[in-house]
């Protein structure tokens, strides 16, 4: 699976393209990513980022809901396949075993980090302050959230004004800003914004002054740092 199939959508996203959904901004999810999400042809880490962006973004939620409706229509039309005869009984038996308050709701989540998307909080399983943050580079800390089939989702915490070393990407990288903001050669990104970068993008994200910048990053292959600091750090970056 992986995400390589999206890399050639990058240009379309930034130039406006002719996307039916009218996705013209680089700050939203590319239409192809939304379609793969709707279809379920997407890795866990990328799905987590998509669901997290949807929590922020009414526009992409509307687009995703439209794609879901297409999926629903196809499901209604699908040729049914008989299930094992005892399956209903076995489901009802499992329902009997369920605790009364089994419904997983965001209310069951700790109130800490209430500004973060619920799917992300659930995947983290604990408040941000209790995660095993690892120093990464000066001014940067990171923690791995989810990995699957070569795709990795990480949280990155950048101190105010600190910059990520200039780098390119082996594969596609999606960044969702959760708190604060940053700027790079592509543009300015604030909480809820998505940035999409591939091997053709070489950038140096710099956090806004005054506030930590917290991002969810999903990359399909290790970053390749460029420049002297990159050459120094490349061999030791723990992905």
């Amino acid at each position: 699976m992986g995400m390589a199939q999206h890399t050639d959508d990058l240009g379309e996203g930034s130039t406006g393209g002719d996307a039916g959904g009218g996705v013209a901004s680089g700050h939203h999810l590319p239409e192809a990513v939304l379609l793969d999400y709707a279809a379920g042809a997407i890795s866990g880490p990328t799905a987590l980022l998509v669901a997290s962006h949807l929590a922020f973004c009414a526009r992409c939620r509307g687009d995703a809901a439209s794609l879901d409706a297409v999926g629903g229509t196809l499901l209604a039309e699908i040729e049914p396949a008989a299930v094992a005869p005892a399956l209903l009984h076995s489901v009802l038996a499992r329902i009997d075993e369920m605790p009364v308050t089994a419904a997983p709701s965001p209310q069951n989540l700790a109130p800490a980090d209430a500004d973060l998307p619920a799917p992300l909080r659930r995947a983290l399983g604990r408040p941000l302050g209790r995660l095993a943050w690892k120093p990464f580079l000066p001014g940067l800390r990171q923690v791995r959230v989810l990995a699957d089939k070569g795709d990795v989702a990480r949280l990155m915490l950048i101190r105010p004004g600190a910059a990520f070393p200039r780098h390119t990407h082996g594969g596609l990288e999606l960044t969702l800003v959760l708190r604060g903001g940053y700027s790079d050669e592509i543009g300015r990104f604030r909480a809820g914004d998505v940035s999409v970068a591939d091997g053709s993008v070489r950038h140096r994200p710099k956090a806004d002054p005054g506030e930590d910048c917290l991002c969810l990053l999903v990359s399909e292959a290790p970053l390749r740092l460029t420049g002297w600091i990159g050459r120094w750090f490349n061999p030791v970056i723990p992905f």
């Binding site: 699976m1 039916g20 866990g44 987590l48 879901d68 299930v83 399956l87 995947a123 699957d148």
Partner: protein, 195 residues
């Protein structure tokens, strides 16, 4: 490709919504059994297309139907048809099931931080009306577009793999898919029923 669907139609859709709401309100097992009867074989067909084995598919059907029971309160007939709501549950199960390591939890159904979804093309109408128009629009698609849509949603492959398996350039696959989706949006917006 016409198939006999005695229960298809607006009234049937309304009944299905009633069933989900009955499960939500009173934990109505008879209503749940009806939903199971209608959707479990469709969910199974969906999972079978994703190259899982029959036994695995049955297990995933169980999990999806358990989620239907647990999440019944979150169903809103103004937002989506029952088929769409159940599709998203099955689809999210699928994403979860395809992970090699299912830790930590991945709960994609969790609600958003912003309250109201901006009405997309399909949300400006009542969900039931949308479902009926979409159904007609899908039926009216040219075969090549319908087939691609089916592949995109029901096969375990990405755009790129679709292109490869069809022997088509990736750009062609994407433009056809986009065309199909644009056509559906337009049909829903204009209320064309393609018949």
């Amino acid at each position: 490709m016409e198939r006999e669907r005695p229960q298809a139609g607006r009234d049937a859709q309304a009944d299905l919504s009633d069933l989900v709401e009955a499960v939500a309100r009173t934990r109505d097992r008879a209503a749940f059994a009806h939903l199971f009867e209608h959707y479990a074989p469709r969910i199974k067909a969906y999972f079978l297309r994703l190259t899982v084995s029959g036994a695995e598919a049955d297990e995933l059907v169980q999990e999806a139907m358990l989620a239907v029971w647990r999440r019944a309160e979150t169903y809103d007939r103004r937002q989506s048809s029952v088929a769409t709501w159940i599709f998203t549950i099955a689809r999210n199960k699928r994403i979860d099931a395809l992970r090699r390591n299912r830790r930590p939890d991945l709960d994609l159904n969790a609600p958003g931080l912003v309250p109201e979804p901006e009405p997309g093309a399909f949300q400006q109408l009542e969900a039931r009306e949308t479902a009926a128009r979409l159904k007609a629009a899908v039926a009216g698609l040219p075969d090549e577009q319908r087939e691609l849509l089916d592949l995109a949603f029901f096969q375990d492959i990405s755009h790129r793999d679709i292109a490869r398996s069809r022997g088509l350039p990736l750009g062609t696959v994407k433009s056809r898919l986009r065309l199909a989706l644009a056509r559906l949006r337009q049909a829903v917006a204009e209320g064309e029923d393609g018949s």
